[in-house]
Symmetry: C2
Subunit: 312 residues, 2 copies
């Protein structure tokens, strides 16, 4: 990697996230190319996206590219098998939602040594190349994993990619990440699906009276069911735990409603929302990837809600 | 009431909803004045808002004004007692959330004959005169009750007020309205409060990773707890029923997660959200308030999701 000029980027899968990454990285000056299983309008838009995965991976290997796994979880295994054959020495990251299952798949293909997991917290209900947007990651959190054995050189390259796309880097272990997203991404999907059903069960009158609280509370139920499943199901264990916790909160609220009161629920919920609104992330500085204790230091910073906003 | 020029409007309570109504009606050409318990900036903004409730009500009685109850539920009884003394003959409506308890309070004060309930489905997390907005009701649904014994002359005046404020009129009985808003307004509050707690329980890391689904799913948890209670608690019976229904949907989803699948929940939730997005309200026409069967006809139309967008 030449200072000031990052090595090329190779994005495998150019749907909403992968395609937006291709656009964002190119806009930031990266030489970026990719692979997609089916033809897209990427070529017409000036991007090199091939459908021949071995050929794309051989190019990545020759250029020492950073390879990004951006295919849906069900397609991951087949793609990793090709990476192991054609580009086993490349630095490797991913933008798939859940981190522990991706890390396990990477390990199963013997690619763990050069892998650092990633997850940009951005998206829309749209999908495919047509929905891609170079600005999708601007201002977003981008989790980058800090599990034991992480290669500091790869970590730095992945963090730089996230920063170049306009995101801030949130360091977390795969397990911490998966537990967190169960709370702030997968549970919101589950509750939105249930709320949408409760509204529709009230018929045309109820849906006709629905305003902002219903519209916002059910927005993510507009996501295609297959995509919701692909996001949430690989994290079923963590999701079960937080759903049980929430069912207990709701059961307590239900009992309090027997006395006509929502006081406890409303006060605790409001305090929690305020905590979310008021969180001011501390900026991480002075932690050098590869220096003694760097992974422990990054983990501790991530748990405090600290973010990395620049890297040498 | 002179054709083309509505009789005056008297708004009791000039918080977010009442104050916005005062602004919207004045902008639409109504002579509008009001009462507020405490001093506000309404006067400085050119509105006649007095703090002497009996005096305001005597003016309303002398002008045959349409009186609007716009105080929070806990203050309603004291205001109704004054209406019964000083303006018992005035046409009366309200903009308080829940309809059956308001109707019962109105009945208890002997004011039922000239009362038609109303509920504009609009609001923000803000409150007070400073948050008022003449455009608040534009495009909103505004429920107007059609219970047995409704006076067609008053109904027409209330419907005209809603239409003049830019809303569409949704006819519903008080009980139907209350069951519907439990689904599309009060349950969204309950789920948002629970979701906010689940996120905050994940600490700074989870809140730092939170993006659109959590932000939107918890938005109404930003409402002051006292206001959430004032909105939801008077409708506890209907809210309990729909919360039980939703807890059962979530319990079924939880069991399906033991097998790692969210298929049933995601498909039903997505279908419900699509139904909400795609509902195209039919326009009510040809129903004349006071004609034979008009209340039955309006009730049937409301159940089909139909709306009134104009009245003679």
């Amino acid at each position: 990697m030449i200072a000031g000029r990052p090595a090329p980027l190779c994005v495998l899968g150019t749907g909403l996230i992968g395609g937006s990454l291709l656009r964002a990285a190119a806009a930031a000056g990266w030489e970026a190319f990719g692979y997609n299983r089916s033809a897209t309008a990427a070529g017409a838009d000036g991007f090199e996206v091939g459908a021949d995965l071995p050929a794309v991976l051989r190019r990545a290997a020759a250029a020492d590219a950073l390879v990004v796994l951006a295919v849906p979880m069900p397609a991951l295994d087949a793609v990793l098998a090709q990476v192991a054959v054609h580009a086993p020495g490349c630095a490797l990251t991913d933008v798939v939602s859940v981190k522990a299952p991706v890390a396990a798949a990477v390990r199963a293909h013997g690619l763990a040594a050069r892998f650092v997991g990633g997850h940009p917290m951005a998206g829309t209900a749209e999908s495919g190349w047509a929905a891609t947007d170079a600005a999708l990651f601007r201002g977003a959190a981008w989790a980058v994993t800090v599990d034991d054995g992480t290669d500091p050189v790869v970590w730095r390259r992945v963090a730089r990619l996230a920063l170049d796309c306009g995101a801030r880097v949130v360091p977390a272990t795969a397990a911490e990440h998966d537990a967190a997203v169960a709370r702030i991404s997968h549970l919101p999907h589950v509750l939105a699906e249930a709320l949408a059903q409760a509204g529709a069960a009230g018929g045309a009158l109820a849906l006709g009276l629905a305003a902002g609280s219903f519209r916002d509370g059910t927005r993510v139920a507009g996501t295609a069911p297959d995509l919701v499943r692909a996001i949430c199901e690989p994290n079923a264990t963590a999701l079960r735990a937080v759903l049980d916790e929430t069912l207990e909160v709701l059961a307590v609220a239900r009992r309090a409603l027997d006395d006509g009161s929502l006081a406890t629920l409303a006060e605790a919920g409001h305090a929690a929302r305020r905590r979310y609104e008021e969180q001011q992330p501390e900026t991480i500085s002075g932690i050098v990837p590869g220096a003694a204790g760097w992974l422990d230091d990054l983990r501790a910073a991530g748990r405090r809600g600290a973010v990395l906003t620049a890297i040498d």
